[in-house]
Symmetry: C2
Subunit: 466 residues, 2 copies
């Protein structure tokens, strides 16, 4: 949409373009609260834009435009009567298809799920968003088998689209009551829900707002841990950051490498300290192997594909092929194990990866770590491969934030790049991705979600000044 | 030791009796800090008392008396030089045998483990205690197969001995690096570590102190969630408490029933509100059945018993017999499942129990819940049966505190009581348990450990005034 299509289309008036482009979420909320903007006009503006995106990209599975407008009118009348429903009063929010909205479908990318009955109840997250005053207006699509779901369903869209995305620690944000592709009770390797937005402060606003109502009272799977208010950092805080550099098995495309190097320079120029973490310690490849071993414990997702006879999409086939060709001896001693003994052995491996990172935090006294979010930028449709750099943080169960920074440039990175022997990943085609957003990833220790967003905001401010 | 044996023995001088009987932990720490008491004299006093307890009860597996005195001398010299090592400076603390102390054994109640090599490293908790200034002076014993471990290894000793015990939510207190009876990676139903003490404030002091060093930096299995300082409640706070009453399958012995009723009366007399929870909702029996199903997923503990040829102790045999005779249809639809599918089905059942309690919290707006900690008081040696009232809180993963309140009395509860058809539990023999401490249990929602201790302290203050 940054290609200017919304403006050129003539379907949005000047004020609607302004509403959808000019404001941070904080600014929108302020104006919704003081009445400078009505929820109705904000909802219509974002609905128009979502409808255009849908026509270009088929990115939506459900639209609730009439219902959203009715809700926006209600919120506007509440405000007119002096009642602000909650901290998200009047704000349109899109939700991922896996969350349930009573009366509509949640097909999570399976043709066979089209036959399922409509959801009878809202997921707890949806109920909470409504209680906070939000307007739910669309549901967004999901990859087949949700293969890349637990691996970066927040961060991968963010890095591909040049927006901000935040994956919290598991169970901070209530994610119960979703339609899942795996068997019920398979909670051995959990996803986590979190926000995408066009500004970094919005991520914290959403988390803080959600946690203000004690989500554990709505969703028993949510941790009953309050969102912490951190001390305001000094005006020029100096961070000590680890640098998770390129893993030799998963080389970075030149634009991603350049963006990361530029980010490090910018941070150091502002007086932040950046400490490289020895590649042998980062566990990127081990984590990838381990996560896939966890995924393969459950054989349900392929049955949902097979149920309708729909074809498996190329990127899923390709990911599995690449994964099977990928050599990693980390799990060699789990071979031959089955069932619960296998699961327990994988848990031991996960403990080992988490313990290595624990030592890094303790020895290095880091405020956070920066690194790549992926080997590449957005790629051609249905060719997104393995997600080693996002998946690491799922294995660690760490909060992780993707920050947009820079763009791919066929002028600056003119040479194509092809993976060598023992290396995994798609090739780099300078012309194909010219202008695509690049991004970095920031993470902290598990349950330090508040610190992750604070450190990310400091880094983001620094990078924006570049 | 309340039988006066320590005093009658003549082995402790008047000051040592005073040190071990008169002070709260807060008072001891204050005097250790200001030098009114030396760590050496406090350590010797508690060591003498532990040595006597050992001769009476065989309650210890390791003693570190010379090492503890050397450490106490070091801490005293540090203090003399103006250095207070940490918030637990100079305080002797005993630890459970499963925790490792480098150079000594951790046999966790198995004869076969006597052949194991001594621990090479301290468990993270031990390292943290030392960093906080504590003196580790003894290790305490554990039941065979640790059958009652995950079921109340803190709370059961507390209720039997008339002390305070606090089981936090899982992973709040670092419990990694313990010797475990189950297979590595079997983390499907986790224990949690926590303190026992003679005063309730001590429980919070220990938790707050431990969390002050960020245990997650020492133990990757610990949640990196700070201990929250709660607002000081008003001087006469009014609580709204749920009452978890007797479950019909697990009747309470008359002294326990009387103590609970008396506690409710005392709380109501002080203006607290006590709201009975419908017995059909409390899930006591379902939780017991479910927990045992989780335990039986791992067949390792019996092999550790068999390895030495030692006999299985009567209470373990009896518990299993009683459990197998206990009728509960909650898991009927899990029958026939094996391996990971069985585990996933049990997770679904656990979710259902947790969700029922979530609804109770949301509907009833409770500050906490009070109920029995066990059906009975301490019982004759090796006859402790099933632990339904403690185990419920493990299934829920809720923080739970045992508060001593009252005593069994053959005068007040003169009639013996025998379980009827469909009821489970040992018989009540008024003469046998005359004078044994009775207790109540207090719990809050998971991860609300701070609130659990605050509510417990308010209740304790009220009950002490009875």
């Amino acid at each position: 949409m940054k290609m200017g299509i919304a403006r050129k289309s003539g379907l949005l008036n000047e004020k609607e373009l302004e509403i959808t482009e000019k404001y941070t979420v904080e600014e929108l909320l302020k104006q919704l609260k003081d009445g400078t903007l009505s929820s109705l006009e904000v909802t219509i503006a974002f609905s128009k834009r979502a409808a255009m995106a849908q026509q270009l990209l088929s990115c939506l599975t459900e639209t609730y435009f009439p219902e959203a407008q009715e809700r926006a009118r209600f919120l506007d009348s509440e405000r007119a009567s002096g009642r602000i429903v909650g901290p998200l009063h009047g704000l349109p929010i899109s939700i991922k298809d896996a969350f349930q909205v009573a009366g509509s479908a949640a097909t999570i990318g399976f043709v066979s799920f089209l036959d399922h009955a409509a959801s009878k109840e809202n997921s707890p997250l949806v109920d909470i968003l409504l209680e906070l005053g939000a307007v739910v207006y669309v549901k967004t699509n999901i990859p087949q088998t949700m293969m890349a779901n637990i691996a970066g369903s927040i961060r991968i869209p963010a890095l591909c689209c040049g927006t901000y995305g935040f994956k919290p620690s598991t169970a901070r944000i209530p994610d119960g009551g979703q339609i899942s592709p795996v068997s019920a009770g398979n909670n051995f390797f959990n996803p986590s829900a979190g926000p995408l937005a066009n500004d970094i402060q919005a991520l914290g606003i959403l988390c803080r707002s959600l946690l203000s109502v004690r989500p554990a009272l709505y969703d028993a799977s949510a941790l009953d841990v309050p969102w912490r208010s951190l001390e305001v950092p000094p005006s020029a805080p100096k961070l000590r950051l680890g640098l998770l550099a390129e893993d030799s098995a998963f080389p970075l495309h030149p634009p991603v490498k350049r963006a990361l190097a530029q980010a490090v320079s910018a941070l150091e120029a502002k007086g932040h300290e950046v400490v490289p973490i020895a590649p042998a310690r980062t566990q990127v490849a081990n984590a990838l192997a381990l996560a896939f071993a966890f995924f393969m414990l459950d054989d349900t997702p392929p049955t949902h594909v097979a149920a309708s006879g729909e074809p498996v999409v190329p990127s899923v086939i390709q990911s599995m092929e690449v994964f099977h060709s990928f050599k990693c001896d980390f799990l060699d001693d789990c071979k031959g194990l089955e069932g619960i003994k296998k699961l327990a052995a994988l848990n031991v491996k996960r403990d080992a990866i988490q313990d290595e990172w624990r030592k890094i935090w303790k020895e290095q006294k880091l405020d956070g770590v920066i690194g790549p979010a992926a080997q590449h930028t957005a790629v051609a449709h249905d060719t997104y491969g393995l997600p080693p750099y996002t998946l690491l943080l799922n294995v660690l169960d760490y909060p992780a934030c993707v920050l947009p920074f820079g763009k791919a440039s066929s002028a600056l990175d003119a040479e194509p790049f092809v993976m060598g022997p023992g290396q995994v990943g798609p090739s780099y085609d300078p012309k194909l991705v010219d202008g695509a957003p690049t991004a970095i990833q920031v993470f902290t220790n598990k349950m330090r979600d508040e610190e992750c967003l604070q450190v990310s905001a400091i880094i983001d401010e620094c990078l924006k000044a570049v």
